[in-house]
Symmetry: C2
Subunit: 139 residues, 2 copies
C-alpha cells in the first residue's frame, strides 16, 4: 500500500509523536495533553481527499479509523469519539480520531482552534504512549 515518494507533512510531524505503523496509515499522537488525540496518515503520496484513495485503500482506512475510535473510547472511557478529515491547513490526507469528554475544554464544540495546545510532560507522554501501544489494535 505504501508509495515510495510519500512524505509526512512537516507540520504534522512537528505537532505529533509517532505511535505505530499500521498497514496503510502512520499513527501519531497529537502533542496536546488536553485531548487524547490520534492522527492517522495514510501513506499515499499526494492524497488530499478521501476519494483520492483506491477502493482497497478506503477499506483499510475505514478499518483503521474504526479500530482507532473503538480503542480510544475504551482506553479513556470517552463520552464520544470525534473522527474527522478536514485538511484546510495541512492538505495531506489525515484523519483525526479524538476522545471527547463532557468536561473537556472544548465540549460540545470541536477541538480545532480552541485555546492553545498544552504539550505533554515527559512523564505524561511516556504513560500515554505506553497505554496506546498496549491498547491499540495491530492493524
Amino acid at each position: 500500500m505504501s508509495n515510495p515518494i510519500y512524505r509526512l507533512d512537516p507540520r504534522l510531524a512537528a505537532d505529533t509523536h509517532p505511535v505505530a505503523r499500521w498497514d496503510l496509515s502512520d499513527v501519531l499522537l497529537m502533542n496536546d495533553a488536553r485531548f487524547p488525540w490520534l492522527i492517522l496518515v495514510p501513506r499515499v503520496a499526494d492524497a488530499t481527499e478521501l476519494f483520492h484513495l483506491s477502493s482497497d485503500q478506503q477499506s483499510r482506512v475505514m478499518a483503521e479509523m474504526s479500530g482507532a475510535g473503538r480503542a480510544m473510547q475504551s482506553l479513556w472511557s470517552a463520552d464520544k469519539v470525534n473522527t474527522a478529515m478536514l485538511g484546510n491547513k495541512v492538505s495531506q490526507l489525515h484523519v483525526h480520531v479524538i476522545a471527547r469528554f463532557r468536561k473537556d475544554d472544548a465540549w460540545p464544540g470541536p477541538v480545532w482552534g480552541v485555546g492553545q495546545p498544552r504539550p505533554y510532560t515527559e512523564a505524561a507522554l511516556g504513560d500515554c504512549l505506553n497505554r496506546l501501544r498496549s491498547g491499540l489494535p495491530r492493524l
Copy 2:
C-alpha cells in the same frame, strides 16, 4: 441494511432538507446557505459511533462518504472537502460532508459553531436541490 426502529433525530430533521435515500444513508442538506453541506445519516438504530456499524455497513458508509465528497467538490469547485463524524450535540451517527472555500466565512477553521446559519431562500434552495439531485451519484 435498514433497521425498522431507526428514526431520524428530530434536531437533524429540523436543521436540514431531504435530498436522497442511498443504500445505507439518508442524504440531507444542511439549511445554511453559507456552506454547501450534506449530512449522511446511516439508517441504523442506536448507532452513535462508526465502530457500532458492521463491517458491511462500514464499507457502505465509506463508499457514500467518498461519493458524496467527490460530488461536492466537483459540483461546487470546492477548494477542500471536510468530512467529519462528531456527534457531541446530536449523538445519532451522522457524517458531515462540506464543500469548503478559501474565501468562505470560516476558512481555514471548521464550520461548526461559527456565526449563525443563514437559511436558504426558497429559490436558492430549489437551485441547490436540483443541482444535488442531478449531480450526486446514486449509491
